[in-house]
Structures are given as structure tokens and as C-alpha cells.
């Protein structure tokens, strides 16, 4: 098995963003042909395509920075759990449709403000990607936010299930904003990212009768060091099975 090291600082930073997009794409892809109804199935699959496409473009940039030692597919299929650097939020399972949409909404708000800061990148390829991705993120946000209003203001049951989803997912928010030196080097304003996220999420929750409780911080270590919740291994085993079992397979 080839060992994949990512050496360059910028490439390391970008891996966090690419992995977050990839893992959420894979989570959404689980619902392809399993969506609650046809249009929603198509919507989730399309959002998944956007996330995969975005991840691929970033892995291509990483590959270029790293001197072409590995290709996009190598980063996706031949790294192990501890070598992935996605935020834990996006690896949480599709326990319920409310989980899927709450997770998507929390991610989309984060992505919107994150990619807005990437518009100022000194790397033109990143800048171009951010311009393109922002249109897709805003579109996805329209969709996920819409669902929150429908579920939050729907029936007693839909509200309760959405509340349950948020109660679980909020435990994975704290680490997102525990920025390190690498984040601070490549994002012009980390503090603003956190305050913008809180403001928008709190605004929507207050309008849909969902409570943001005091959540006890989990004793899990940071995603930036390759730590995950228990779900990542299962996700990777499905995503990586084929190219690992048949390394020469072409499609």
C-alpha cells in the first residue's frame, strides 16, 4: 500500500477543506436511490455531485502543489482514517432525514463563509474555485434552509426529530472554530467566520422553534490531528472498497 504524505503547508490546509467536501458528498451519496421521494433523491444526489466535484478540484490543486506525486483518486481511496482531516460534523450518519438536512444546513452556512474568505486567496486556482463553489453552496443552502423551515414549523413530530438532530450535531461544532496557526495563515479572518456562522444559525433556529441548548464539549480530539467519531471507518470501508480490492480497476 502506498503511503500518502502531504508535506506542503498550503496543501495541508486545503486537505481539510477537500476532505470535508468529500466526506459529506459520500454521506449524501448514500441516499442516491434511497431518498424520501424522487425530487429529493435527485436533489441530494446533485448536491453530492457538487461536493465530489469541489473535492476533486481541490485534490487536483493539492496534487499540483505537491509536485504531482499523487492524483486526486489516490487521496480519496488510499488514505486511512487518521489521514483524513474532515470536520466531524460531516461524517455523522443519515440517522433520519432531519439529520441529513440539519447537517447539510450547518455545513452550508460554514462553507458559505469559508469560501467567501477563500476568494481572497493568493492562489488564483483557489480563488477561481471559490467563485464557482460559492454559487453552488448558495444553491444548496437555499435547499437545506428551506427544509429546516418545513421540518421545524411542520408538525410536532417533525420539529421533535429536527431538535434531536441538532442536539446530536451541535456536539461537533466546537472544534470547527478551534482554529490553529495553519487556518490563521490561510484564512483572512477566522474570528469572523465563527461569529457569522453563529449569527446565521441562531437566526434560523429562532424562527423555526428549535432550541440551541448548552452542549457539553465532547472529549474527542481535534479533526486537524486526524481524529474522528466512530462513523468514519464504516464510511471509508464502503467508499474505498473497490479500488483497494482491485487496485488496477479502471472505470
Amino acid at each position: 500500500m502506498k503511503k500518502i504524505n502531504i508535506e506542503n503547508k498550503e496543501a495541508k490546509f486545503l486537505t481539510r477543506i477537500a476532505d470535508t467536501s468529500l466526506i459529506l458528498g459520500q454521506r449524501n451519496a448514500e441516499l442516491c436511490s434511497n431518498g424520501p421521494f424522487l425530487e429529493e433523491d435527485i436533489a441530494i444526489s446533485n448536491i453530492s455531485l457538487d461536493l465530489f466535484g469541489r473535492a476533486e478540484e481541490i485534490y487536483n490543486i493539492i496534487s499540483k502543489i505537491e509536485g504531482g506525486t499523487h492524483e486526486a483518486d489516490d487521496y480519496v481511496f488510499f488514505r486511512n482514517e487518521r489521514e483524513f482531516f474532515n470536520i466531524k460534523l460531516v461524517e455523522q450518519p443519515n440517522e433520519d432525514f432531519a439529520w441529513t438536512m440539519a447537517r447539510q444546513f450547518m455545513h452550508d452556512v460554514y462553507a458559505e463563509f469559508l469560501y467567501t474568505q477563500l476568494l481572497e486567496s493568493k492562489n488564483d486556482e483557489i480563488k477561481g474555485l471559490a467563485q464557482k463553489a460559492l454559487k453552488e453552496i448558495e444553491y444548496s443552502l437555499l435547499h437545506s434552509r428551506d427544509w429546516l423551515y418545513r421540518l421545524g414549523l411542520g408538525t410536532e413530530e417533525s420539529n421533535a426529530r429536527l431538535q434531536e438532530a441538532f442536539d446530536h450535531l451541535f456536539k461537533f461544532v466546537e472544534e470547527i472554530f478551534a482554529f490553529d496557526d495553519l487556518d490563521k495563515e490561510y484564512l483572512p479572518n477566522c474570528g469572523e467566520l465563527q461569529s457569522q456562522w453563529n449569527k446565521e444559525v441562531n437566526r434560523v433556529l429562532s424562527e423555526i422553534n428549535i432550541e440551541r441548548k448548552e452542549y457539553e464539549a465532547l472529549s474527542m480530539r481535534d479533526y486537524r490531528d486526524g481524529f474522528h467519531s466512530e462513523h468514519i471507518g464504516h464510511l471509508l470501508s464502503i467508499m474505498q472498497y473497490l479500488p483497494r480490492a482491485y487496485p488496477e480497476a479502471k472505470w
Binding site: I42, N46, G53, G128, Q131, H143
Partner: protein, 151 residues
């Protein structure tokens, strides 16, 4: 004649894999053609990041050039400046309309039915058959149609 006019024309013969009514030049995928004929440098840009057809752009261009006797060329993909539907000409938009796909309109506001021309239409699904399209129906003629989203 514009330098590389012949090559532009050649690449203009390659239909988009998802929407064959328009070609890769009209779509704005081919950004630059530089270098000598014996050593062409072609720069392309992806449309939607999640478009499965983007994987084919490279192969189709390569195939076309090889068919026409070009041996030495490079194809580089760049993300900047980011591709936008603003690059579609009025003529290209009309081609889409003729094909039954309502072309992009700034702000996705007034969407015209490609079948009867009515602007009394409604969105059925924000996501359609490809990442670049949403699904609509016309209130005047009751026909369904795809809309090429603004990007």
C-alpha cells in the same frame, strides 16, 4: 484570420456530451489556444465542478486533434477566471431554447417556457437531470421543461 482560427473551428465541432446542441467553444469550455501548430497549448475550464461531463472534455479534445493529424499538444485545465453562464452568447442561448432547454436568465427570475414562449412558469424541482439544470413546468401549455441555471 485570427491566429489558430482553424483550431477554434475544429474544437467548435465537438458537441457538449450532455447538451449536444451546443459545442465546447460556445459553452466557453475552451479558453485559450496558444503556441505553434506543431506544439499547441490549449487551456480549458470546467463548467460545474460536479458535472460528470467535465471528465470527457479532455478526452474529446484530444480525440478531435489526433483525428486531424495534430500530435504535439498539451491540454491544461484552469479554474480562474471561473466559468460563468454569462459567457454564453445570445445565439447560444437561442440554440438551447430551440432544444427545449430554457436558457439562463440573470437572477433566475423570469423563466420562459421553451415550448410556447409563456413566462407563466413554475419551478417543480430546484435540481434536475444534470447539475446545470432545474426542472420546471409551464402554467400556459402545461408542458414540463428544463432550465439551464444561472452560474
Amino acid at each position: 484570420m485570427e491566429p489558430h482560427g482553424k483550431i477554434w473551428k475544429l474544437l467548435g465541432e465537438i458537441p457538449d456530451p450532455e447538451i449536444p446542441a451546443i459545442n465546447l467553444v460556445e459553452l466557453g469550455v475552451v479558453r485559450k489556444i496558444e503556441g505553434e501548430e506543431s506544439n499547441l497549448e490549449i487551456t480549458i475550464t470546467p463548467t460545474y465542478t460536479g458535472c460528470p461531463a467535465k471528465q470527457l472534455f479532455n478526452d474529446l479534445i484530444k480525440e478531435k486533434l489526433e483525428e486531424n493529424g495534430y500530435k504535439n499538444f498539451s491540454i491544461t485545465s484552469t479554474l480562474y477566471p471561473a466559468w460563468t453562464t454569462d459567457w454564453l452568447s445570445e445565439e447560444t442561448k437561442q440554440k438551447l431554447m430551440d432544444e427545449g432547454i430554457s436558457p439562463p436568465v440573470a437572477g433566475d427570475r423570469v423563466i420562459t417556457c421553451p415550448h410556447c414562449g409563456s413566462t407563466d412558469t413554475k419551478m417543480v424541482s430546484r435540481f434536475g437531470t444534470t447539475p446545470c439544470q432545474s426542472f420546471h413546468t409551464c402554467n400556459s401549455c402545461s408542458e414540463p421543461f428544463n432550465y439551464f441555471k444561472c452560474h
